[in-house]
């Protein structure tokens, strides 16, 4: 499993981040705006976990196309 996050940078405005999330993930404007605000407040926001690295890369590339910064990290194994 890998985790995809959006990284807040010093360049993108919250409005732009929300628009990108709305378009890439198909989220409602309200949900996209709330993720954008969380990224701005915390420096990053987790967008989802994916079993395949390829799917996460595809979404990361879409975010880069919209001018965003994305991060893919391995999801740490948890004890059963």
């Amino acid at each position: 499993m890998v985790r995809l996050s959006l990284i807040s940078d010093d360049v993108n405005a919250s409005e732009a981040v929300a628009y990108a999330l709305h378009r890439v993930f198909g989220w409602s404007e309200g949900i996209a705006a709330s993720y954008a605000r969380r990224a701005h407040a915390d420096g990053s926001v987790e967008l989802g976990s994916y079993p395949e690295r390829g799917e996460a890369e595809e979404l990361a590339a879409r975010l880069l196309a919209f001018g965003m910064l994305a991060r893919i990290t391995p999801e740490e194994a948890t004890d059963a």
């Binding site: 732009a16 990108a20 378009r23 990361a60 590339a61 919209f66």
Partner: protein, 151 residues
């Protein structure tokens, strides 16, 4: 007369520019197109392209860049070319479909990398870069407003 960009939301959203602002934005888009199409492999060009396709993994990114850098460049260039083909620099832009909004958004998002690094450091002549980045950001925010995404 002052420079302006105005968002006009509606069924067919619009951006209305003052004439000098429209000309400036088109010049920036044209410059971006030239830089993105430049296939020379010098240090400056590599640094420029790295701003479009930054690393996504905390460690090794070579495979990611091998897979995605070219599709990413093609997508951005495609969006930019459609914008430039459809817009001659006139003062009113009418967004007749969603793809057109996305194309403008993508063109504006990446136009900034002509003037600023990902960490926010300005490039070249700082005062001029600051003005250009501010305008590009403002046009992008107005675009989002015109398209109806309220934050």
């Amino acid at each position: 007369m002052h420079d302006y960009v105005e968002a006009v939301p509606g069924e067919v959203p619009e951006l209305r520019f003052s004439e000098p602002t429209a000309v400036s934005v088109r010049v920036i888009f044209t410059e971006l197109g030239a830089k993105l199409s430049d296939r020379r492999d010098g240090r400056r060009q590599r640094q420029f392209l790295a701003r479009f396709a930054p690393d996504v993994y905390p460690g090794e990114n070579e495979e990611f860049h091998r897979r995605w850098d070219e599709p990413l460049r093609a997508e951005i260039l495609g969006a930019l070319e459609r914008v430039l083909r459809a817009w001659d620099g006139s003062a009113v832009v009418r967004f007749t479909d969603q793809r057109m909004v996305d194309d403008w958004f993508i063109a504006l998002a990446h136009a900034r990398w002509l003037y600023v690094r990902r960490d926010g450091d300005l490039l070249g002549r700082v005062a001029a870069s600051q003005v250009n980045v501010a305008w590009v950001q403002f046009v992008q925010t107005q675009l989002v407003t015109a398209a109806g995404l309220a934050i």
